[in-house]
């Protein structure tokens, strides 16, 4: 019989306000095997832990139950505490009477009754706990960063600087990401490329960084410290080693009608191309879908003009398999599609553009050479309207429920830059709220209003209608004056909501990392572990985790790198001892378990067994504890009930069931 101690936490008033803690203690004390039960205001505090430790020692407890917050919060704390007191850490069970009880119920009687039942279930389970020993696994001292935007570059640089090798995988032909597309950055109006490209160069030149561009992650297996990742290097059709980056091929390419992704399809590019002048690597790729040689077999001009002989039409995709200890997801964002927002006439008029498109128009390397002009007729606009929250904070299901966070600031930036360069252009901004928390952000917005005379109207735009003369009628409302507003504009700019890059969902499945309803990756804890995924060894950097601006992205990238460095600095990791094991006497070697195991952790051995006194050899399932992650799929599949899971055994779970139904 176990000697069990029960410790009930008040959590200040978080638990005690709705659960009568003393009654839980009394009820627990009456359960079989419970030799010690007590309450304390903060069990997780040092004093609380000291109480637990001394009870373990003084009463010789063989198992403890802590009735407190979620095991996701403090299970590790109490396990360590038990271990310090000489009790096996896996003889600890948590009854979650905060998140699953006191915080969701108002009625004290009801909540107390439920807390007693939850405590009873945990006591019933701990009776059947067995001491477990964690194993160890090795750490591959190399990190993978998926995404080569500012988030990925910064994370990679920080990890590389600490002395660990890092690989960056970027699906585009160049690293740089969204930041490379921006013209200026708020709130300092730095030129985006001027601050980004030195970082790109630094990453490319760093001895610890390898960059795979035009590449995608194809498959991920393994676990923290020991991931194996297959990377598909798309055929570039250009030899990276031979190419000198002279650009002659791009100049001569006769296929020039492909929409230029980098310029948000506002211009066109050649079929052999580098996305932008400062591209890293400065090696073009052939877009086989649009290349005349690949489409018709005729042409081959690029190969003829290439003095270095770098063009190779026979290249094929290559799969590289690498081992990593940690994986960082930095897949960034895109703007949402506007097909559900017909009222803004985005599809009807070339002069209704998104803010990211304006960013390209304002950029000297963009489709208009940096001149502000209407895309329909090339004329300079006189009247510009900016519409905020297009698809952000959207409650009708057409857009996103969240705030995209960056739009208020970049719109202030655009308005300010336009008024500065073209003082004759009138700028009006329709907004729901102006949100400018951030260092020097509100001052920046005030400058746009006070110094540059940007006209801010609180209100939403109901309709943008193209007029016969090519101008646009913007009908909205002014909520402060309570009046309808109508402006005839030459150009309308939509602050379009941002969403995670479409690759994030597929990647999350591959990494078994959780993702929220908006496809942003979920943190291990929203406040305390914001750069880690709940999946060990997977880290989050940049907008893949949630909307954020450049300074925030860079800080998060640094935080993410620190976590990765912390992992890579370890020589070995303790593994989860809650693994499956098969009962030799019951197993008949049928292979059902091995077929469902996602980790290939089950193999078979011929073993000598004693069947009711008859000695013989039999095929028996054997679980590799280093590979088993403890999902339990095999336990249910096993037809003879030979497979069981340590820490969540059949008997333990049934004991919980029985306690709840008692």
């Amino acid at each position: 019989m176990q000697k069990i101690g029960v410790f009930v936490c008040h959590c200040g008033t978080n638990i005690a306000a709705t659960v009568d803690v003393l009654r839980v203690v009394e009820a627990a004390a009456k359960e079989p095997g419970v030799v010690h039960a007590q309450d304390y205001p903060y069990m997780c505090s040092e004093a609380g832990q000291a109480l637990i430790a001394s009870a373990i020692r003084d009463k010789g407890l063989t198992g403890i139950v802590v009735c407190s917050c979620s095991p996701r919060m403090h299970e590790a704390t109490f396990r360590k505490c038990a271990e310090r007191a000489g009790l096996n850490p896996y003889m600890v069970e948590i009854a979650n009477i905060r998140e699953h009880c006191s915080w969701i119920h108002k009625d004290m009687e009801e909540a107390t009754q439920k807390a007693i039942i939850l405590a009873r279930a945990a006591i019933a389970k701990v009776h059947l706990n067995t001491p477990l020993a964690a194993g160890h696994s090795q750490v591959t001292k190399r990190a993978l960063v998926i995404g080569g935007g500012i988030a990925g570059i910064q994370t990679a640089l920080d990890i590389a600087e600490a002395g660990y090798p890092v690989d960056i995988v970027e699906k585009n032909p160049s690293i740089g990401g969204r930041m490379a597309q921006l013209d200026k950055t708020f709130p300092t109006l730095d030129c985006s490329a001027c601050i980004l490209t030195p970082k790109m160069v630094e990453a490319a030149a760093h001895p610890n960084i390898r960059i795979f561009t035009y590449s995608e992650v194809e498959r991920v297996t393994g676990f923290v410290g020991d991931f194996t990742v297959d990377i598909r290097k798309h055929a570039r059709s250009v030899d990276m080693d031979k190419c000198t980056g002279c650009g002659l091929c791009q100049e001569k390419c006769p296929s020039r009608k492909t929409p230029d992704e980098f310029n948000r399809a506002l211009g066109t590019r050649s079929a052999i191309y580098t996305p932008f002048a400062q591209a890293i690597p400065n090696v073009p790729v052939i877009d086989r879908e649009h290349c005349i040689k690949f489409k018709t077999g005729k042409c081959g001009l690029c190969q003829t003009v290439c003095a270095a002989g770098a063009i190779d039409y026979t290249q094929s995709d290559e799969i590289v398999s690498e081992k990593y200890g940690a994986i960082v997801v930095a897949t960034g964002f895109d703007t949402i599609k506007l097909d559900r927002f017909g009222e803004y006439a985005y599809d009807q008029s070339k002069d209704v553009i998104t803010s990211l498109e304006l960013e390209r128009i304002m950029n000297a390397a963009g489709p208009t050479g940096g001149h502000l002009e209407r895309l329909s007729d090339g004329r300079m606009p006189r009247e510009m309207v900016f519409i905020q929250c297009v698809g952000s904070r959207c409650s009708d299901g057409r857009g996103k429920s969240y705030c995209s966070k960056i739009c208020c600031m970049y719109t202030a930036k655009h308005a300010m830059l336009i008024r500065d360069k073209y003082p004759d252009v009138n700028v009006t901004v329709f907004y729901i709220d102006v949100r400018t928390p951030g260092k020097n952000f509100d001052e920046f917005y005030r400058r746009a209003v006070e110094q540059y005379g940007v006209n801010y109207i609180k209100g939403q735009v109901g309709k943008v209608a193209p007029l016969p003369d090519g101008r646009l009628r913007v009908s909205g409302s002014d909520l402060i004056d309570g009046k309808a507003v109508e402006i005839t504009a030459d150009m309308v700019v939509l602050a379009t909501a941002i969403e995670p890059d479409p690759s994030a969902r597929r990647l999350a499945s591959m990494l078994t990392a959780s993702i929220d309803t908006n496809d942003f990756l979920t943190e291990a804890h929203p406040k305390l572990r914001p750069v880690e995924s709940p999946t060990a060894g997977v880290y989050l950097s940049g907008v893949s985790q949630g909307p954020k601006d450049i300074p925030e992205t860079v800080s998060q990238a640094g935080a993410c790198a620190a976590k990765v460095i912390g992992l890579l600095a370890k020589d070995r990791l303790t593994t989860n001892p809650c693994t499956a094991h098969s009962d030799q006497l019951l197993c008949n070697g049928c292979s059902a378990c091995a077929n469902v195991c996602p980790y290939g952790a089950i193999s078979y051995e011929q073993r000598e067994v004693n069947d009711h006194g008859v000695r013989g050899e039999r095929r028996i399932a054997v679980v590799n504890n280093a590979l088993c992650q403890g999902c339990g799929a095999c336990t249910v599949t096993c037809p003879s009930g030979a497979m069981d899971l340590q820490g969540f055994s059949n008997r333990q779970l049934i004991a919980e069931v029985d306690a709840i139904c008692r």
Binding site: E110, S509, V596, C631, G632
Partner: protein, 146 residues
């Protein structure tokens, strides 16, 4: 509805996978959402750890409803666990209906770690449904009664 029905407090067990649904339940709690106290959560590493036998056992011991929550298909922490759950539970639920258990006493829901609101809504709905069905008498093991 008779007075007895209104006083009926069903016994409900919710098996929740550690990575998505248990975290979703935590989020429901930390967001102070409300759902009935009848729901008692049992933590399992993955929804695929739940043997249909556990569900039968729960009914045998007098539960009125059992709900199993896991990660959304495709999002399983263990890659494929919830696919097994989906198949197993489809068979189990079909069998339960075959033997005459009222429809809806066993339910499977996918709740992610970010869906605290969905967790609370699901539990509210489920408890409401079980209250409407009344006490589970068809699968209760009378031998368990004193």
């Amino acid at each position: 509805m008779s007075i007895d029905d209104r006083d009926f407090r069903p016994v409900i067990a919710a098996f929740c996978c550690n990575w998505c649904s248990y975290a979703g339940a935590d989020l429901a709690g930390s967001s102070r959402m409300k759902y009935p106290a009848e729901v008692k959560i049992i933590r399992v590493p993955c929804s695929c750890r739940v043997n249909p036998m556990f569900i039968l056992r729960t009914f045998e011991k007098g539960a009125d409803g059992v709900i199993l929550c896991g990660c959304h298909p495709g999002d399983c922490h263990y890659s494929t666990g919830n696919y097994y759950t989906r198949r197993r539970m489809a068979s189990l639920i079909s069998l339960m209906e075959f033997v005459g258990l009222e429809r809806g006493r066993v339910r499977v829901e996918w709740v992610s770690a970010a869906e605290g609101a969905k967790f609370a809504e699901t539990m509210n709905e489920f408890v409401e449904h079980i209250r409407a069905l009344g006490k589970n008498t068809r699968l209760e093991d009378l031998r368990c009664k004193n």
